[in-house]
């Protein structure tokens, strides 16, 4: 049980700046998911917290204690690796007990803790097996068990679900969340999968090119993305972006496609004619006359829903997700873009513009 505080953590590999100053406050018992595309610096951030990598500058505090200069073993953390990193020549029991043994814990106490963790994770019957005799899901549990027995202040997860098949991933995802809630251990979870991020995190850190583009709850990130990158990264299919300019007075925008969109929540500051990017999620677009005509070029049936890709006036691409079956969709589809579903971004910087 502890808090984690990062203060302007920067990391540079030779000439490449990987992290441009990350600030983060994690509350006691909170599950933070760091999400981003590959190469955004999310794994580096986790490794700096673990102590496997040293920050070029900035501090890491666990439970108020400055651990920036400490070895991983002295930070009181536990980590679950992407490939689990179970020692292949040790049994499951020995794998889980190894860290405790090194810390000089008494065998009886080790036995008790491992048994307890094994029972919780339902791997009791596997304790005598070697890792290679286990399935992917079982290895995953053992890797978690190894973290749990340590009773650490902080759990670190480095894409632990990406080696599992899709079905098991969903199951383990729920299990990790349940376990984390039950133990109440502060956790940092790194993933590139937005669904994992949305479902697991109390809050998300969306990373982009070494910066935290947004730190907020999953629904906040989805509902009020801080910039166009976050908006396009979270949500599937991705948000549509349409070029527009600000109308005089700031209360509306003129789409390049020839439609004027009013801002129901209030006018945006800025000169008339300022370039804007308007975002709208595919699922918020409705079928109906009086809006735009969508020239359909691809229909993806999903059963009860249908994803339609096409272009609008001016050649901009638009994706629509409709709650109707796929059959009977013609070459041209009239769609309505509800005003209150729009997200307004600065056309040049990509930042969200609030009223």
């Amino acid at each position: 049980m502890a808090t984690l505080t990062l203060t302007s953590v920067k990391k540079q590999f030779a000439a490449t700046q990987v992290l441009h100053g990350i600030d983060l406050d994690v509350a006691d018992g909170e599950m933070i998911v760091v999400v981003g595309a590959s190469g955004c610096g999310k794994s580096t951030l986790l490794r700096i917290v673990a102590g496997l990598e040293t920050a070029t500058s900035g501090t890491v505090r666990i439970d108020g204690r400055d651990v920036t200069a400490l070895e991983p073993a002295d930070r009181d953390i536990a980590m679950v690796f992407q490939n689990y990193a179970l020692y292949p020549h040790m049994s499951v029991f020995e794998n889980m007990a190894y860290g405790l043994k090194i810390r000089g814990m008494k065998p009886a106490e080790i036995r008790r803790r491992v048994d307890e963790a094994a029972q919780m994770l339902e791997i009791g019957p596997l304790l005598d097996r070697k890792p290679r005799q286990l399935s992917g899901g079982q290895r995953q549990r053992v890797a978690m068990g190894r973290a749990v027995v340590r009773e650490p202040k902080l759990f670190l997860f480095d894409e632990p679900l990406s080696n599992l098949d899709a079905k098991l991933r969903v199951q383990m995802r729920a299990e990790i969340r349940r376990l984390q809630k039950r133990l109440g251990v502060t956790s940092l979870f790194v993933t590139h999968d937005q669904v994992e991020a949305m479902t697991l995190g109390d809050r998300l850190v969306v990373m982009h090119q070494g910066r935290a583009a947004q730190v907020a709850s999953p629904m906040e990130v989805w509902g009020r993305p801080a910039d166009t990158y976050v908006a396009s990264f979270i949500g599937s299919p991705a948000m549509n972006f349409l070029a527009a300019t600000l109308e005089p007075g700031g209360g509306a925008a003129a789409l390049k496609a020839g439609l004027t969109i009013g801002f129901p929540d209030g006018p945006r500051a800025g000169a008339a004619g300022m370039p804007l990017t308007l975002g709208i999620r595919p699922e918020h677009i409705q079928l109906g006359e009086g809006g735009l005509d969508l020239a359909v070029d691809l229909v993806e049936p999903l059963g009860s829903e249908t994803v339609i890709h096409g272009t609008i006036n001016g050649g901009e691409a638009l994706t629509v997700r409709l709650p109707i079956p796929a059959h009977g969709i013609g070459a041209v589809l009239p769609v309505i873009l509800p005003w209150d579903a729009f997200h307004v971004f600065d056309g040049s910087s990509g930042r969200r513009l609030e009223p």
């Binding site: 991983p72 980590m79 990193a85 020692y87 020549h89 190894y98 810390r103």
Partner: protein
């Protein structure tokens, strides 16, 4: 229609059977030839060690066993035959004991040194790491024979002539084994190192608890190779050892062969040769399972 097709299929199946049988015979014959070529000299040696001294002395090469086996082997084991003006006799057990000591010390010493140096080169980053690695690597190009004079002089200056230390130490430093272990260590995933760091295992602990158990099959394979390498050493023992108490069997055997002043005791020499073959064979047979495993698979 179907009848002719069946017939055709039947014909093809029989042709395949015939071809398989023919292929099998070709394999057996070529294998037997190979076995014959390899085994014949050994057969001559084994048979020769069971005849009395005059049979081979006459120039006969017997192809079947004689009746002197026990006498020859006892004589070779206990006295090493009779010394003449140009030969000397050292009991086979002394020479075998020396060879065994030398081979085991070389194998163990090489493995220990290579393990540690490969561990340092792979798992630590320190200034001069690559320089150290390349220095080790370059010694591969200088076999013992090339540097034998300077090595001999160093051993003389250190007063290590006619000692087991002098015999073993120069043969221990080994670039090959270091290189082999380096390649193996490079295949150990970084995550193990990181997991161990988080578990709180220091470098030596990690070496003992993770690296060593993972290397065990490689160590076994290398032990077999190095034991035979050590056992077969000829030039260096010939130079450094003049004391008959430290004579190794490979060198000692050649010293049993005189320069023609007197009749060579070929029966005793062959008995010694057979005895000299046994320890390497034993090592290979005993460690074969590990050996093959170490060369072909890794425990991951």
């Amino acid at each position: 229609m179907s009848a002719t097709m069946d017939l055709e299929a039947d014909r093809l199946a029989r042709a395949t059977l015939r071809r398989n049988a023919r292929n099998r015979w070709v394999a057996y014959i070529s294998l037997s030839l190979g076995v014959l070529i390899f085994a014949f000299p050994i057969w001559i040696t084994v048979v020769g060690s069971t005849h009395d001294v005059s049979t081979i002395g006459r120039g006969d090469v017997p192809l079947w066993f004689g009746g002197e086996a026990v006498a020859n082997y006892v004589s070779a084991w206990l006295t090493g035959g009779e010394a003449t003006r140009t030969t000397r006799s050292v009991p086979a057990w002394v020479m075998l004991w020396n060879s065994l000591n030398m081979a085991v010390l070389i194998a163990v010493g090489k493995i220990a040194i290579s393990l540690l140096s490969a561990y340092a080169v792979v798992f630590f980053s320190f200034p001069g790491r690559m320089v150290a690695f390349w220095l080790i690597f370059i010694t591969l190009m200088l076999p013992v024979e090339v540097r034998i004079i300077p090595t001999f002089e160093v051993m003389v200056n250190l007063g290590l002539i006619n000692t087991m230390t002098g015999l073993v130490v120069p043969l221990i430093a080994s670039a090959t084994a270091t290189l082999l272990f380096r390649q193996f260590f490079l295949t150990i995933p970084d995550e193990y190192v990181e997991a161990a760091k988080i578990d709180g295992a220091g470098p030596l602990r990690f070496f003992k608890d993770v690296v060593l158990p993972l290397s065990i099959t490689n160590i076994a394979a290398l032990f077999v190779i190095l034991f035979i390498y050590g056992w077969n050493q000829y030039l260096w023992p010939l130079l450094i050892v003049t004391d008959r108490d430290l004579e190794t069997v490979v060198v000692g055997m050649t010293k049993m062969i005189g320069n023609g002043d007197a009749q060579n005791e070929w029966n005793i020499i062959m008995a010694t040769a057979v005895l000299a073959m046994l320890p390497p064979v034993a090592v290979v047979v005993f460690m074969q399972r590990w050996f093959v495993k170490g060369l072909t698979e890794t425990e991951k």
